[in-house]
Symmetry: C2
Subunit: 84 residues, 2 copies
């Protein structure tokens, strides 16, 4: 694997993994009042564009990171909708 892809995958892994402690915290507390709905809508739409960009750029880090992040953010949003 070339060093550039490696750096991208490290970045992608970190930014993706960053949502895990948030999912765990939200799972435990069921508290999501501090999150903004506007953030979810913009973030998730943006991530879909990033996935398209990653496919067009043939960039594995962009595709992978954004797909997993989309899933994790969906979980947090589901908690916000359920326990608002």
């Amino acid at each position: 694997m070339d060093p550039t892809t490696m750096i991208g995958l490290i970045g992608g892994t970190l930014t993706t993994v960053s949502f895990f402690p948030q999912v765990v915290k939200t799972w435990k507390t069921r508290s999501t009042g501090d999150f903004s709905y506007g953030m979810f809508i913009l973030l998730m739409t943006g991530i879909l564009f990033w996935i398209a960009y990653g496919l067009l750029m043939h960039s594995l880090p962009i595709i992978l990171a954004n797909m997993v992040t989309f899933l994790l953010i969906s979980i947090i949003l589901a908690f916000k909708i359920k326990y608002r």
Copy 2:
């Protein structure tokens, strides 16, 4: 501008702008208890790797989006540190 870069810039603008309603909400409420510190550390380190990846890939969307996002997340973190 080629369509691929355009799609990347739309994605970058959306995911970056998504933090604005969050910054505004946090600014107003001063409430950051629902955010996880672990998320901030991983997210910000990951973003630095993304910026490096963007520079190596000569990808304007990746560089721009991540620089602005880093700044916005720093603001939310500053509120969390100040009003914990």
